[in-house]
C-alpha cells in the first residue's frame, strides 16, 4: 500500500485482509500518521458498536415464531420429498399399523373428547366410516375391519395430489394416539 486508502484501512480494521496484504497495509500505517489516526478512529467506532445491547423480540412474538418454526420443521420430517414419494404406500400402511397397535395397547376406557375426535386422522375418511363406532370397536379390541377399511381409503388418497397433507395428518394422529395412550 503506497498511498492512503481508507477502504484498505476499513478491511484491515475488520480483519478482512489476507496476512500478506494486512502486513503491507500495517507497514503503511506505521509510516503515515494520517492513516494511523484514521485507523484508530475506525477501531474506536467498532469498539463502540460492540457495546450496543442485544435486542430481543417480545415474548409473545418469540413464542409465535417458535411455534411456526417448529411446525415447519416437523413438516420436513414428514415430507422429505423423494423418500416419501418412493415409499408412500409403505409409509401409509406403517402409520396405520402403528396407530392400530397404539390403540390396542390402551387398557382403559377411551373417552376422547369431541375436540380430540375432530383432530383424529380418520377425519379424511369419516365420510365412509362412522368414527364413533370405530372408537368403540377399537376399545373392545375388534378393530380389524375398520382399520383395514381406513387403510384402503388412506392409501387410495395418497395416490392423489395432496400426498403431503395426508401424511402430515397421519403423523399428527400418531402423536395424538401416543398422547392418549400415555394417559395424559
Amino acid at each position: 500500500m503506497s498511498a492512503c486508502d481508507t477502504g484498505q484501512l476499513l478491511l484491515l480494521a475488520h480483519g478482512e485482509l489476507d496476512p500478506s496484504r494486512a502486513a503491507e497495509v500495517e507497514g503503511h500505517v506505521r509510516a503515515c500518521p494520517a492513516c494511523a489516526a484514521e485507523l484508530s478512529r475506525l477501531r474506536d467506532a467498532l469498539a463502540a458498536l460492540d457495546r450496543l445491547p442485544a435486542m430481543d423480540p417480545s415474548a409473545e412474538a418469540a413464542r409465535r415464531i417458535l411455534a411456526d418454526g417448529r411446525r415447519a420443521v416437523q413438516r420436513r420430517r414428514t415430507l422429505r420429498p423423494s423418500f416419501v414419494r418412493r415409499y408412500r404406500y409403505a409409509l401409509a400402511a406403517a402409520a396405520i399399523l402403528a396407530a392400530a397397535i397404539g390403540w390396542s395397547l390402551i387398557d382403559r376406557p377411551i373417552e376422547p373428547t369431541d375436540a380430540q375426535l375432530d383432530r383424529l386422522w380418520l377425519d379424511p375418511v369419516s365420510d365412509i366410516i362412522d368414527t364413533g363406532s370405530l372408537v368403540e370397536e377399537l376399545a373392545e379390541g375388534h378393530a380389524a375391519s375398520p382399520w383395514t377399511e381406513a387403510a384402503d381409503v388412506v392409501i387410495a388418497r395418497l395416490g392423489e395430489s395432496d400426498l403431503d397433507d395426508a401424511l402430515l395428518e397421519l403423523e399428527e394422529s400418531l402423536d395424538l394416539l401416543e398422547h392418549w395412550s400415555s394417559g395424559s
Binding site: T6, G7, L9, L10, L11, H14, E16, R41, L42, D44, A45, L46, A48, L49, D50, R51, L52, P53, A54, M55, D56, P57, S58, A61, A62, R64, I65, L66, D68, G69, R70, A72, V73, Q74, R75, R76, R77, T78, R80
Partner: protein, 194 residues
C-alpha cells in the same frame, strides 16, 4: 460482533433441523434470534416490523435448508436471508414513496422508516447508560444505507464483498458507506446526546 457458535454443534443442529427435529430448531432460534432481531430492529427502526421479518427469516431458513451447503458459515447464510428481506422491503418502500412523492413530516430528506429511532422498552431505556444512548442516537442519525451496511457487517459475519453482492452495489461503494458511517458514529458518540 456477537460470539460465534461452535461450528460442530451448529452443523449438528442444522443437520437435525433438516431431518425434522424441532428441538434442534429451538436451539437454532435461541442462538440467532438476538443478533438477527438486533439487526432487523436497528435497520428498520420498527420493532413490530422486525418481529414479522424475524418470523419470515426463520421460516425461509427451514424451507431452504436443503439449499444450504455446509461451509461452516451458517450464520452468514442466515443473515443473507435477513438482508434480502430487508432489501426487498426497502425497495418497496422507496418505490411507494417515489410514487407518493411525499417526504415524511419533519424529514425533509424523504428518508424511510429506517431513519426513525428504534423504540426502546421503558425498562431498557431506564438502564441504558449515557454512552449507549449516544450510540443508539448516533446510529439512527445515519443515512439509511450507511446504517444498513454498518449494522449488517456488525451482526452478520458477512464480508464486505458478500454485503456488496446482497445490496447489488460495488464493493467500493459499500466500503465508502461503512467508512462514512463509522466516522460519523465516532464523532456523534463524542457529542452530548440530543
Amino acid at each position: 460482533m456477537p460470539p460465534q457458535a461452535d461450528p460442530e454443534h451448529l452443523r449438528d443442529l442444522v443437520d437435525r433441523c433438516r431431518r425434522g427435529d424441532d428441538r434442534a430448531f429451538d436451539a437454532v432460534f435461541h442462538m440467532f434470534r438476538g443478533p438477527l432481531y438486533s439487526y432487523l430492529a436497528r435497520t428498520t427502526g420498527d420493532r413490530h416490523l422486525a418481529e414479522d421479518f424475524l418470523q419470515d427469516v426463520f421460516l425461509r431458513m427451514v424451507e431452504n435448508l436443503d439449499r444450504y451447503e455446509e461451509s461452516g458459515r451458517f450464520q452468514a447464510w442466515l443473515f443473507r436471508i435477513a438482508a434480502n428481506r430487508v432489501r426487498d422491503w426497502a425497495r418497496r418502500r422507496s418505490h411507494t414513496e417515489r410514487v407518493g412523492g411525499a417526504a415524511e413530516p419533519g424529514n425533509p430528506g424523504g428518508t424511510t422508516a429506517v431513519d426513525r429511532p428504534v423504540e426502546q422498552p421503558p425498562e431498557a431505556a431506564l438502564v441504558m447508560d449515557e454512552q449507549v444512548r449516544r450510540l443508539e442516537a448516533g446510529l439512527q442519525s445515519l443515512e439509511a444505507d450507511e446504517r444498513q451496511v454498518l449494522v449488517l457487517r456488525h451482526y452478520s459475519g458477512l464480508s464486505f464483498k458478500e454485503i456488496a453482492d446482497i445490496m447489488g452495489a460495488p464493493l467500493g461503494t459499500v466500503l465508502a458507506r461503512s467508512h462514512r458511517a463509522l466516522i460519523k458514529l465516532r464523532e456523534r458518540i463524542g457529542e452530548p446526546a440530543g
